[in-house]
Assembly symmetry: C2
Homo-oligomer: 111 residues x 2
Amino acid sequence: MSQTSDIIRGHTETIILSRLLDHDSYGYEINKSIRDLTDGAFEAKEGTLYTAFRRLEQAGYIRSYWGDESSGARRRYYAITDEGRAFYDESCREWQRVKTMIDRLIGTEQA
Amino acid sequence: MSQTSDIIRGHTETIILSRLLDHDSYGYEINKSIRDLTDGAFEAKEGTLYTAFRRLEQAGYIRSYWGDESSGARRRYYAITDEGRAFYDESCREWQRVKTMIDRLIGTEQA
DNA sequence: CAAATTACCTCGCTTGTCAAGGTACTTTTT
DNA sequence: AAAAAGTACCTTGACAAGCGAGGTAATTTG
């Protein structure tokens, strides 16, 4: 496993939810938007992405439905739920806390 | 598993290495220093800690030796190696990058 | 018409975390 | 003096997330 993948772990769900705040989206587009926003540095592997969708749906944080594409491949769209938004907010706060702690731990300002 | 522990994952080794930058230390003390620096918020579970030591030693990032305690329980001390310092430096740079990326992804400044 | 792209999915492996268990000695409390 | 708490180490097995590798099926591009 790469160094990065362990660092992403724990953020995958939050990242996915963040992509759904404004509008419903589907796997391929979400993944593309993650890649674009990070200039290609991050990218959820497909296995990771789809298992995360299952988890999030099972937890009630997202809903899914098939889009009615008249052309092109079928798409499964995802929508964030109220519970999902609440979880997202809490995750963001958690991230802020953890960020501070890690900075304190590995930073140059040592005790 | 808690939400937090998945976020810490990937930083455990860096955190341990950071505790060894100034002086050699041993498991119990390292753990205590992590707890103190984070006001009790973080704490490496023993299983996590000791498996991490094995990994780091196997990778050549730390060396270990038994302290010669005249009283009290025996202690296995750890010392960071040159390779360990290099890895630590790289991990810190990685952390800065990741921090920026995650902030960009889950932050309020969305694309 | 082949290749690339869009778009979905599953299976099995690997790896790090952690609960739970253990050992052994010292210090503090009752 | 016995019990409890603290210091200090360690291992084992289960679990969960990431991911490589495989698959399907349609459309678009060269």
